[in-house]
Amino acid sequence: MPSAVPRYRPYERRMPLLWWLQRWNYTWFILRELSSAFVAWWVVVTLIQIASILEGPQAYAAFQAWMAQPLLIIVNIVSFIFILFHTLSWFRLVPQAMLPRIGGKRTSAVMTGAPMYVVWAVASVVVACFALGVF
C-alpha cells in the first residue's frame, strides 16, 4: 500500500530584508509609498492648526511660533519634496494606466495627463487665495 501523499509546505522564497535597495525601481516605489507618512504628519499639523484657530488669537500665535522653528521647517521641506514626488509620479502613472478612447481613437498621454496638471494648478491657486484672504 502506498503511504498517504506527503504534505509539502509551500515553497517561499526568502527575501533579503533590504530587497528594496537592490533596484532603483524598487527603491522609488518604497520611497513613493513612504511619502504617506508625511501625509499623516501633515494631517496632524492641519488638525493642530484648526484647533488653534478655533481656540483664539493667542493659541493661533503660539501655533505660528511653533511652526517657525528651524527643525519643523526642515521637516516640512522634506514633506513637501516627498509629497511633490507622490503627486508627480501619480500624474505620470495615470495616462499609462488609463487610455480613454474618443471616437474609437486612443487619446495621447498628453491629452490624458495635461488636464490633471491644470486641475492641480487651479486647485492650488484657489486654496492659496482662500487661505491668504484674497477672496
Binding site: 501633515w42 494631517v43 484648526i50 503627486t87 486647485a123
Partner: protein, 95 residues
C-alpha cells in the same frame, strides 16, 4: 485629494509663511474661513481622506518592505485604528 491639495498646504503653511516670505493670515480672517460650512467640509475631506490614504499605504508598505506579512493583521488594525481615531478627532473639531 492628497495629490491635488496637499502640496499647496505644505508650501504655504509649512514653508513660506513660517519663513516669513508671505505675511501670515490674520486670526480673524482664518476664523471666518474655518467657520464657513464649505471650508469645514473641505477640511474634513482633506483630513479624513489623507488619514485613510496614509493608513492604507503605510500598512502595506511596512508589511512588504520589512517582510512583516505575518504581522499583517496587527499592522492593519494599528494603521486603520490610528486613522479612525484621527477621523474622530477631525469630526470632534469640525462639528
Amino acid at each position: 485629494m492628497v495629490a491635488f491639495f496637499f502640496p499647496i498646504h505644505i508650501l504655504l503653511f509649512g514653508i513660506l509663511i513660517p519663513l516669513g516670505l508671505i505675511a501670515a493670515p490674520t486670526h480673524t480672517g482664518m476664523l471666518a474661513l474655518v467657520n464657513h460650512p464649505l471650508t469645514r467640509l473641505y477640511l474634513f475631506g482633506f483630513c479624513a481622506l489623507g488619514l485613510l490614504h496614509a493608513a492604507h499605504r503605510l500598512r502595506f508598505t511596512l508589511s512588504d518592505m520589512l517582510r512583516l506579512k505575518h504581522l499583517d493583521t496587527l499592522l492593519g488594525v494599528l494603521a486603520y485604528g490610528a486613522a479612525l481615531v484621527g477621523v474622530a478627532v477631525t469630526i470632534d473639531l469640525l462639528i
